[in-house]
Symmetry: C2
Subunit: 408 residues, 2 copies
């Protein structure tokens, strides 16, 4: 009897393999939200709980869920929509207004970790190529994590927040160029013309979407709303988000930058459209936990098995945090110590961007498996360090925000 | 120069394979919505356009996108949320009120296609096992398609709609039992005790969620809303939807039935909660196009290359449509001709359920590749036939609905 049942169940499962997917999604979402609730009760950021949920259920600890093509895809779509909804709350003019400062913050925040990472690995005994690659891996900023914390606190519009968002876009372009340089140096030949072309394209794309795209969409919006399909502006937003993400990757920038620009381009046209914002919020809230849990699942604790690597992983993580804090903080020092600290801490998380750089290094065979594990740990650890400090540093803005919202 | 660029692009793409995924999603969503708009302008149901978009971009015609593990996963999650949001609009009491009629509709709507399909294939020269399996494939109803059309017209609460929803749940349980019987007959041994146990479990699960789950959740809702995590009731809804879908498959019912029951269980607790409904609507509207396009992508036009199969595929499709129309219509004839026709047409689409049965048949090696293609065609064709007729048949309810909403 049990035999028949077993055969039937296996048959049904093998014909409908997506049952496993639903179970995976349920476990990821449930773990994320249980740990988020626990962390909220401990007065810690929910986001840290959600990433740690990934560490817990992932290969490092319980091994209930392993990163797969599907969890990676969901995570990718999740971070895209995260940046898209952040973009929806950001007007291009507010980013241009902090443009100069954002450029300085980005440049110092790229230079400091790159140089420090390079020399640290050289001193540890790495080759020149390995050291260049580790420097590159320390450059990447994962703005999604910071944006999520700031959005949750309602301080996305604070001056430091806008500098972080602007600097993150520039940071991504610079990071891409350094990656292209280092990767072609590793391959033996640097084509400056090609890299110059990529740089120009990336910058032109960003400025074009902000300057031309946003007003064009604002003019076009009534026509889109007049289409026959239901919820046409929401559908247009989804397509713009996916489309500019794809375009960004073809041009050479990260998909999240395209999604962020798509959100900004749509910000004016959808101002006050509560239904659209709630629908977009639903999509984002559904998808983001998979992004956060998937980051946590990447962590490999086996780097701690080799004593020689333990010192390195701790030092690289420390250097990764301090160089962004000091580099970006120095860039924003004209705004005073507190805001400089806000900007510096906001740029610390490396998250999925650091993980992607590590994967490129591994696939090019320029870093060893041990170094790959080191970069993964650094990426996850910097992502966990920043949110509690962000919460503290933005506490007075949150309080002001709440007083503003409820003035009695 | 181009060589370096090509290498770099390949490198970036291979390290970040999800770029392809974003492009796939963009193409699927864009094709679905362009065809939906065209169909709306031709006064045809948008849903037909979205399924035909899948036929167009899929392997049958342009071959831009092929069904993959990821598109299947998105489609599965999409249909789950579709049924979940339909459940949210459905109170258990309204289904119980039409319960007896729904049972008669389901039984006649299962018996007629099974018997007709069995004898049709026997007459065509099929083996007994093949004929049993084709009968089983004709039994499955894909309630998602009909529910989507009815929800779009705002007539989910019409009497015929409630009968369709109730009958679809019973239909799914009956279909599961027939599948278990046929599959174990094909394997050579039928364990009636085991099958009886599965049936009891499925029925107990359904009734338990409706009778006990719904009031329990309504009582629990204030506590859930009091949790610290943001949007806790929305998160709970997501978890309930995923969790009951998984539970349903473990018990042996389709995941969509679990999702529909989850929605119903939450209907009372979230009545009037516009924010939650808009968030859920956002998730559903984002995911459903992938479900519809994925159905269209399953179509294989190569069944039309073999002249001997052409007659069969057309006959089976015709029989599939007519037996549901007449069988279910007869079950609801006490409500008059028009309502009987509404119910009959509403049960015609086989959609993804027919496709899953075909896949099980193929994996058990009880049907040939040609018969597999026939069932796929029947599944997609019945799904395309029903919506235009539903639109016509429910026209007066829609008009009444619109008069009610705008009484001047």
């Amino acid at each position: 009897m049990c035999d028949t049942a077993g055969r039937l169940v296996n048959m049904l499962l093998s014909a409908a393999p997506n049952v496993d997917i639903l179970l995976t999604l349920f476990v990821m979402m449930a773990a994320a939200k249980v740990l988020a609730e626990i962390f909220e009760r401990l007065r810690q950021p929910a986001i840290v709980g959600e990433i740690l949920a990934g560490v817990l259920i992932g290969p490092s600890v319980l091994n209930w869920v392993t990163p797969s093509e599907i969890t990676n895809a969901l995570a990718e779509v999740g971070v895209i929509f995260l940046l898209f909804t952040v973009g929806l709350e950001t007007k291009p003019v507010n980013i241009f207004r902090v443009g100069k400062l954002a450029i300085i913050v980005a440049i110092l925040g790229v230079a400091a970790p790159f140089v420090a990472g390079y020399f640290l690995l050289l001193a540890w005994g790495g080759t020149v190529v390995e050291s260049l690659f580790i420097g590159t891996a320390l450059v990447a900023t994962s703005v999604g994590i910071t944006a999520r914390v700031l959005a949750g606190m309602g301080v996305l519009d604070a001056r430091a927040s806008r500098i972080i968002l602007g600097a993150a876009v520039i940071d991504d372009i610079l990071g891409l160029l350094i990656l292209a340089l280092v990767a072609s140096a590793a391959a033996g030949r640097i084509d400056y013309l090609e890299i110059g072309l990529t740089a120009s394209l990336a910058i032109a794309f960003t400025i074009l979407v902000m300057l031309v795209g946003a007003p064009a969409i604002t003019r076009l919006a009534p026509r889109i709303e007049a289409l026959r399909i239901s919820q046409s502006l929401f559908v247009f937003g989804l397509l713009l988000c996916l489309g500019l993400s794809v375009a960004a990757t073809y041009i050479g920038v990260a998909a999240i930058i395209g999604a962020f620009l798509a959100g900004m381009a749509l910000a004016d046209a959808t101002e006050g459209n509560e239904t659209l914002r709630k629908q977009m919020n639903g999509v984002t809230e559904f998808l983001v936990p998979f992004f956060l849990v998937n980051i946590g699942m990447q962590l490999r604790l086996d780097v701690f098995r080799e004593p020689a690597v333990i010192a390195l992983v701790l030092m690289i993580t420390l250097v990764a945090a301090l160089t962004k804090l000091l580099g970006c903080g120095l860039g924003a020092i004209s705004l005073g110590w507190r805001r400089a600290a806000q900007v510096g801490v906001g740029m610390i998380p490396r998250g999925e961007v650091g993980i992607v750089v590590a994967q490129i290094g591994l696939s090019l065979a320029v870093i060893t498996d041990a170094l790959f594990g080191v970069v993964l740990f650094m990426s996850v650890a910097t992502t966990l360090i920043a949110p509690p400090f962000l919460k503290l540093l933005f506490a007075s803005e949150t309080a002001a925000q709440e007083r503003g919202a409820a003035p009695h």
